[in-house]
Structures are given as C-alpha cells and as structure tokens.
C-alpha cells in the first residue's frame, strides 16, 4: 500500500491544511502554500475534508505506485508523464499497480499538488501531517521513501471533471492587503510607496517567507517581539519587505505593516522569482 520515491525532486513535501493550536509552543502553522490548488486536487477525487497532498515545486519527483489508485494533480501548469505518456493537469486519472508517475517540471507558478484517493497516510504530529523541519521526522521526501496510501480499486469519478480550476485569479499581479498593526506608524511617503511601487519577488524566497527586491527606506522602531501570521508583511530597519508565508514563525520583531488577505496569499505563493506584484488596499 505504498508509493515508492524513485527521485525526490527539488523540494517535495506532504502538506495538509496545517497545524493549528500549537502556536503557544512556537509551532508554525505550515500547510499547503496554495490552499486553493491543494483543495482542488482533493476535490477532483471526491476526497472528504482536507486530506494530505504532496506539494511539488520546480523539478518534481518520479514516483512508482505499488498500488492501484486514482489521483489528481492540480495547479497552474506542469509537464506530467504517466508511464511515459503526457497527461493533463487539473484532471483526475487512474493509476495501475506498477505505474510510474513522473513530474518533469512545474512550468507555470511555483507549486502543484498531487492528491491520491483518501490522502497520503504519513505520520501525524500534533494533529497534522504537514512536514516541517524539527517537527515531523523529515522535512521533505527523499529517494527510497515508501509513502503510505490507501489504494483504490474502483474507477475515477466522472462527475467531478466538470469543475474548472480558476486559473484567471492567478493572472493578476494585484495582491489584496489590509493594514497591519504598525501601518499607522509609517510616514505618508512610506504609505504611498507601498501602494504605488511595484515590487519584485526575490530569489531568496522559501516556504517560510517571500522577500521583495525593492527597499522602502524608513525610520520605524523595532517592536517588542509580537505575534505574526502567514501573510504578514514585515518592514526591516534597512528597508527590506518580508512577506511571511505558510511556514512563518509565530512571533516576530519587525514592524508588521500589511497583512495579505487569505485569497491573495495563494496567488502570491504562485508568483515566481522576478515577477512583479502590487499591493492593493482591500
């Protein structure tokens, strides 16, 4: 009842809707970077709830299925081969025992999601399967891993194929935000800059935070270490903007100038290095 990892890909991990309720121990929420895409992959299979999915970025894994099942991959676009034959994204498909699924690369956006019938059955730590360094026994999948799944001998559900992945939302570079707790401390010029400038996604970005290239010179004081959330935009004393993502720490010491709205956080997650974004007050 397993999938064998022949090649792990660049950074492939198991993610679910996140680890809630352990913030007081300093435990990040984690979970899928693009919640909509992850939920869509589950929905294509008729999976109940928010089953754990495989999150794949840039160069994907090569996986051998030792079990017959149904699966779906969702996201913006990717080159996917099932037994060497190209298959489309955002549709469910049948996998025979012994089949090899190879995700060559994520061609559009940063993250795609592989869902299997019933979800991945990886270890549950603090109520969640989301992989995170120092919490789950591994932070990403590695070559030779056997990932537990339930298997499914039935046929794939046809009635879910009529729903469409809402790709249009992702085309916009407008990121909807709210004012953050320290927004009011910004100078008028700083406020204007935040909403008039376009900002470029820096290559230093990760599941923890996306950094922006352009600086906003400011003279804000640092704050007493306080709570932060995924989507919080921090402004450092040397003018860097840091957008906290799903693996965000639970506290931070930089002024929290903006808060990205939940829906835009999925869109932002899919913006690649070098792409430009614009903040828009919600």
């Amino acid at each position: 009842m397993a999938i064998e990892v022949l090649k792990p890909g660049l950074w492939t991990s198991i993610q679910d809707s996140g680890r809630m309720g352990f913030g007081n121990f300093g435990v990040p929420i984690s979970g899928a970077m693009d919640k909509y895409a992850a939920a869509f992959a589950n929905m294509l299979l008729g999976n109940f709830g928010k089953e754990a999915v495989m999150e794949i970025t840039h160069l994907g894994p090569v996986l051998k299925f030792h079990e017959k099942t149904i699966a779906a991959i969702s996201g913006l676009n990717a080159d996917i081969l099932l037994n060497g034959k190209k298959i489309p994204i955002n549709e469910s498909f049948q996998i025979e025992k012994g089949a090899v699924l190879s995700i060559e690369r994520v061609s559009d956006g940063n993250w795609i999601y592989l869902a299997v019938f019933g979800g991945f059955q990886s270890e549950i730590i603090m109520d969640s399967r989301s992989m995170y360094d120092g919490i789950t026994s591994q932070a990403k999948i590695k070559k030779g891993d056997f990932l537990k799944i339930r298997g499914f001998s039935g046929t794939k559900p046809e009635h879910y194929s009529i729903v469409r992945f809402q790709k249009r939302t992702y085309l916009s570079n407008r990121i909807k935000v709210f004012r953050g707790p320290e927004f009011s401390l910004l100078s008028k010029n700083n406020k204007n800059e935040l909403f008039q400038k376009q900002f470029t996604i820096s290559p230093d970005s990760s599941r923890m935070a996306y950094l922006l290239e352009e600086k906003v010179e400011n003279n804000l004081q640092s704050i007493l270490t306080g709570p932060v959330l995924p989507g919080t935009v921090e402004l450092t004393p040397d003018g860097k903007l840091i957008i906290l993502m799903r693996d965000a720490p639970v506290t931070g010491g930089y002024p929290r100038v903006l808060q990205v709205c939940e829906e835009s956080l999925d869109v932002l997650a899919q913006k690649k290095t070098g792409e430009k974004i614009q903040f828009v007050l919600s």
Partner: protein, 243 residues
C-alpha cells in the same frame, strides 16, 4: 494594579490583536495569561486559538470576523470583570549551561564591550532567576526576561547562518536557548545540553509561560555527560515549586 486598557487592532480577516503598553513586565504577563484563560472559557465556536507574547494577545478565528465591534466589546467586558491575578505557586527549573569557549562564540567580545571579565558575565547570567514569557520564533524557543542591566547587548548586526542546537543567547533585555540549529542573530555565550522541544510528546515542551528558569554553569565534561543522559532519555530535570 490593573494594567491600562489595551488597544484592539484588526489583523487581517481572521484575527484580532489585543495590545498593552510596550513593556516586559511580570505583572502584565500574569494579567495577559489570565485574560487568555478568560477568552478560552468564554469563546464562541469561531475562535480557534489565542496566543500571547510580552504585551499582546492574538485571537485567531477560523472564519472571517463578521463584526469586529461585537468581539471587541466582548473582550473589554471580560477584561474589566477580571480580578488582578493572585500570586500562584510557580515551577522553577534549573538548567545546565556550559559557558566554555567551545560554545561561547561571543563571550570574549561581549566581555570586552561590557568591560567585564568572562567569569563575571557567567556569574551574572547564572545568578539571576528568569521568567518564561512565551515560546516563539522556533518551536520551543523560550523567551526569558529580564536580563540584568549590565548584560544587555543588541542583536548582532549580521545574523549567523547557523547557530547550534542548545546555544544560549542574549538579545537586548532577553536571554534564550535555540531548541534546534537555525540561523540567528543573538549573542551566543554558552550551550544548554537539554532537549527543549520534543515533537513526539504531548505537550511538546515541559515548560509553560510564567515558569521560572535559572542556569547553573557546567564544565565541558559535564556538558558531554548530560548530553549522553539526554540522548538516553535518562536526564532528570531539577525542578521545584515556589510558593
């Protein structure tokens, strides 16, 4: 005395930040912890988590907040009906710290800056009883306050790419221990061989906010010995209840 009234700040669609004055103060901590309990007792279904820091509570909802004024009214009524929390017995943990050069990367420079000898810094750091305010930054990272005035030093200008697990650091008026290796900007003066965070246990940390923590210096040999004990899960914590 009750702390002054907090500010209520809308923080995205799913959270409200309650913020008191910008101080690190034990009385404020006890009030915030009591306020947090009050919210948990009286919370509606939509509130999923409440986390706190030195001077803040963050109330998280699992659906967009419909009417923030209703929520704010509820919180301020709860807080005004609260008594000043009485002094409760607290747990006091003594944790071993090895201040040997091998671990104390910043001790020499620190001593020069403070015009103290390293022994004086060690003695100052290990003779104070600290309060655990909260855990944050990394899973199990303890925010301990407050440092004696003579030991206060800002974070390093250039954070280190990697700080070892157990590193004991100083930043401004706080001291803390890295529960796992990580990049970080605190001034490192020693290493604590004890596991601060065990993800496979519930709760994953034996500490709770309000606990007292003190450090006792150990030699390099003792540090090695304790590390072995910790590995074999044989290490016994030194803990007493303070009335």
């Amino acid at each position: 005395m009750k702390p002054s009234n907090p500010q209520f700040i809308s923080y995205g669609e799913y959270a409200i930040l309650v913020q008191w004055e910008k101080i690190i103060d034990e009385k404020l901590l006890w009030f915030i912890l009591a306020a947090k309990e009050k919210i948990k007792e009286n919370k509606g279904k939509a509130i999923v988590e409440v986390i706190h820091t030195f001077n803040s509570l963050l109330v998280k909802y699992d659906e967009p907040i419909k009417n923030i004024y209703d929520e704010i009214l509820m919180f301020s009524e709860l807080f005004s009906s609260m008594d000043i929390p009485k002094n409760k017995p607290v747990k006091r943990f003594s944790l071993p710290v090895c201040y040997d050069e091998k671990f104390a990367l910043d001790l020499k420079v620190f001593a020069r800056e403070k015009k103290l000898c390293p022994e004086e810094i060690i003695s100052l750091h290990s003779s104070k009883i600290y309060t655990l305010y909260f855990m944050g930054f990394l899973p199990g990272f303890l925010y301990l306050g407050t440092l004696p005035k003579s030991l206060r030093l800002p974070r390093k200008k250039q954070p280190r790419k990697r700080i070892e697990k157990g590193a004991v650091g100083i930043a401004e008026n706080q001291t803390g221990i890295y529960p796992k290796s990580s990049p970080g900007g605190w001034q490192i003066i020693g290493n604590c061989p004890v596991d601060l965070f065990q993800p496979n246990y519930l709760p994953p940390s034996i500490f709770s906010p309000g606990d007292q923590i003190e450090f006792y210096p150990v030699s390099l040999e003792e540090h090695g010995f304790i590390s072995e004990e910790v590995k074999k899960e044989k290490f016994q914590h030194r803990m007493e209840i303070i009335e």
